[in-house]
Amino acid sequence: MKALVLHLGLLAVLLALHFVLPAYHHGNLARIMVLASFAMGYNILFGYTGLLSLGHALFFAAGMYGMGLSVQHLGLSAGPALLLGVLSGAVVSGALALLALRTSGVAFMIVTLMFAQAGYLTILHFSEWTRGDEGFVLALAGRMAWGVDLSDPNARYIAALMLFGICLMLSLWLVRAPFGRVLVAIRENEERVRMLGYDTFAHKLAALTISGTMAAAAGAAYGILFGYVGASFAAVQYSILPLLYVLLGGAGTVLGPFIGTLFMFYLIDLSSGITTAYMLIAGIALVLLTLFAPQGIMGELRRRLWKGLP
């Protein structure tokens, strides 16, 4: 109950901010909410199931290109295109899961990294369709959903908030449902879960597919809301970013991905005023977090203050 109030409260605050934030931060927050949805998808696999993927850019890009290509070449509008993006994310993550889940630990990390790299290169290779490295600006038709122009900052913010709200409540529900608690148990001790009679492979398959689909939804929404589809979103950096967000905010906490994205976004935003080498901040943060705060912000909070924090 307390947890439900907390998470709904965050959504209410974000809605209130819509009316008061200055334009610059208003735009930033919309972007942060979409990226946080990506991170929440990542968190289901990494934080709750204990599987460290280095290939989530593949799912983000599957959503983005599933959406973008259907706008560009099939002339769909934003609604159906978004659905196609989500669907392609589900297919790609399900297929990858069937292969990658035959491995575990370090091999799983490398396999996901390699498949994502192959996906990135594939986008570059079919450049007559994808426009390769350069990418393409989304046609305005693809940014219209049921008569609403999603390129308008206000509509964009509300759309981002809706996506974020759905992902947040879905995560909250999932991790407290019996299914999510089996995932946590798999993270803690997979062999024991298997010997309690659970099909751990099926659970991990479902977790990876849900995780990838959520990442794809974020990718598709990112393309629609900010109007650009490009191969850089499929590059390895976009696999590292959600990991960074989740580590910073607290793996295995529902709010962690949002907190981590918020902090990291502004950290990079502030430092990019000083230097072009802003990924330096990301690197330093990764090292410091693994060394000194592997629990992240919300993880520390849970340890010190609120044991039942989901």
Partner: protein, 239 residues
């Protein structure tokens, strides 16, 4: 027969750990599996529960051949397995540990009730909200047992459940098992011969991967071969 094992064998690269073991376990029995270290006991129950794939032979459970089923499907058919090396979920609460075991077949309020009952039965009712990793070793063993009980298994496999328990805890454990035996069949790997003699209806002795002898506790006690191979060893007296 609830469980029937025929010609079960396991070879690890070059090592023949279990050699063509036959074993029949009728419903309602407490069967003890004893033998010196390295006799293949854990490997044998591993093959029965599906943790380890058999090199040859078959496992019949409740009239059906389950040799090719993966572990989780066997468990779902009514086996429960408690680990020799305690492997509770250390960072989850005691109740959640048992809850995970219960929720495979029960849901909602029914699951919560079953968890509370199982915890009361092993005497951990007051510690339900504690983190499992904070429990004393003996209590962790009891938690393992509660995780087995709550599944209401038809066959409960216990791998050295009294290892590391104090005298008093062993007493309590024995009465708990006697009590459980009224509702389930128990396959017990045990080193402590006093526990074995007190609990088992029948005993199977394993030595170097083979069945050396099988019989009632009295018969086993009188068996010269067992005396020589096993009961004569220091292991049995101290165990």
């Amino acid at each position: 027969m609830l469980l029937s094992v025929k010609g079960l064998s396991k070879r690890f690269d070059g090592l023949h750990a279990v050699k063509s073991v036959d074993l029949d376990l009728p419903e309602g029995e407490i069967r003890a599996l004893i033998g010196p270290n390295g006799a293949g006991k854990t490997t044998l129950v591993g093959m029965i529960s599906g943790r380890i794939t058999a090199s040859a032979g078959s496992v019949i459970f409740d009239g059906e051949d389950i040799t090719r089923l993966p572990a989780h499907r066997r468990i779902a058919r009514g086996m429960a397995y408690t680990f020799q090396i305690t492997s509770v979920f250390a960072r989850l609460s005691v109740a959640e540990n048992v809850g995970l075991a219960a929720r495979r077949h029960l849901h909602g309020a029914k699951a919560r009730k079953a968890v509370a009952e199982a915890l009361d039965r092993v005497g951990l009712g007051a510690r339900a909200e504690q983190e499992a990793g904070d429990l004393a070793y003996g209590h962790q063993r009891l938690l393992e047992l509660a995780m087995g009980i709550v599944q209401h298994p038809r066959l409960l496999i216990l791998d050295e459940p009294t290892q590391g328990l104090s005298e008093g805890e062993i007493e309590a454990f024995q009465s708990l098992i006697r009590n459980l035996a009224q509702e389930t069949t128990i396959l017990l790997i045990e080193h402590n011969m006093r526990v074995v003699m007190a609990l088992a209806d029948r005993i199977t002795v394993l030595d170097a991967g083979r069945v050396l002898a099988e019989g009632t506790p009295e018969e086993i006690h009188a068996n010269a071969a067992v005396q020589a191979a096993y009961l004569g060893g220091g292991d049995a007296q101290t165990g």
